[in-house]
């Protein structure tokens, strides 16, 4: 009963928020609606008993990703209205729905075929976080490490791309130019 009420309430809220996020012409409204939608999605994870995933959803999406987007928006001119593509609306909506149904068929086909066997079944008497830890650090250890390396690469890429003057190469700039820049810096200070 409560599960049904929670499911329908959060479905409505999530769909509304994401709809606002893709249709509004104000970038700030889109950012706020997206952040709210991310929080509401974590509610589904809590309903489904995936507590750790829900906590990660709030921490990573609402904390890190949204803060990064808000930081990025300070660089861009976000006060003006966003221009939209002038395309055929029916084609866009039709293709979107068609592709989404295809994705669900991909997910649902093995279920309908009824040949899903739980490879890593839930362990009795263990909390969700404990179960996740057991599976993640035994069967999925190598993908976990690869994901860690990927995050490191992404961090370095973010620093190099967004850092001040990081697009200029120090080794390709002549020494005189660097010295001149240093002197200018002292004048400014």
């Amino acid at each position: 009963m409560f599960e049904a009420i929670a499911f329908y309430l959060f479905s409505f809220l999530t769909i509304t928020m994401f709809f606002i996020a893709v249709t509004t012409s104000q970038a700030l409204y889109a950012l706020t609606a997206l952040a709210a939608g991310m929080i509401f999605i974590s509610a589904f994870f809590f309903i489904l008993g995936a507590d750790f995933l829900g906590a990660i959803q709030i921490v990573v999406y609402s904390g890190a990703v949204m803060a990064l987007y808000a930081f990025g928006m300070m660089f861009f001119d976000t006060t003006r209205d966003v221009k939209e593509k002038q395309g055929n609306k029916f084609i866009i909506v039709g293709m979107g729905v068609l592709a989404a149904v295809l994705v669900v068929v991909i997910f649902a086909a093995p279920i309908v075929g009824d040949n899903i066997v739980a490879i890593y079944p839930m362990i009795e008497g263990a909390g969700n976080t404990q179960e996740v830890g057991m599976v993640l650090f035994t069967k999925y250890l190598v993908p976990f490490e690869v994901a860690a390396v990927m995050l490191l690469v992404a961090m370095i890429a973010g620093i190099v791309l967004a850092g001040k003057k990081m697009d200029l190469s120090l080794t390709l700039t002549s020494d005189d130019k660097i010295e001149e820049d240093e002197n200018n810096k002292k004048v400014l200070l």
Binding site: I41, L53, Y69, G96, A157
Partner: protein, 102 residues
């Protein structure tokens, strides 16, 4: 109606995925295009978590974790590239990025 099953979650996932795809196709601003991409990734995460719950298998949750990790690194690299482009050209509209005339 009152019993929430796997199909309910799959339908919700479909609706959210459709919203995300519509956003990807109609947005011209690259920052808002990224927002639509996040919606796509999140809708798939819901499907993974629901299947994981209804089949008593943890593999779905594991994949959801890796999807979140990929989304985080995508944002970091994508925003860095956007900032570099904005510094050089002054806007981030898709139509100004067509350098090849075919």
């Amino acid at each position: 109606m009152m019993e929430i099953g796997l199909n309910h979650y799959l339908v919700l996932s479909t609706i959210l995925f459709a919203i995300g795809l519509i956003g990807v196709m109609r947005r011209k601003n690259l920052l808002l295009l990224f927002f639509a991409t996040e919606i796509l990734l999140n809708s798939v995460n819901i499907a993974f978590a629901a299947i994981s719950h209804y089949y008593g298998d943890l593999t779905g949750q594991m994949f959801a974790f890796f999807v979140i990790a990929i989304a985080a690194s995508e944002v970091a690299v994508g925003l860095g590239l956007l900032i570099v482009w904005h510094k050089r050209h002054g806007n981030i509209d898709l139509e100004t990025m067509t350098s090849m005339r075919g």
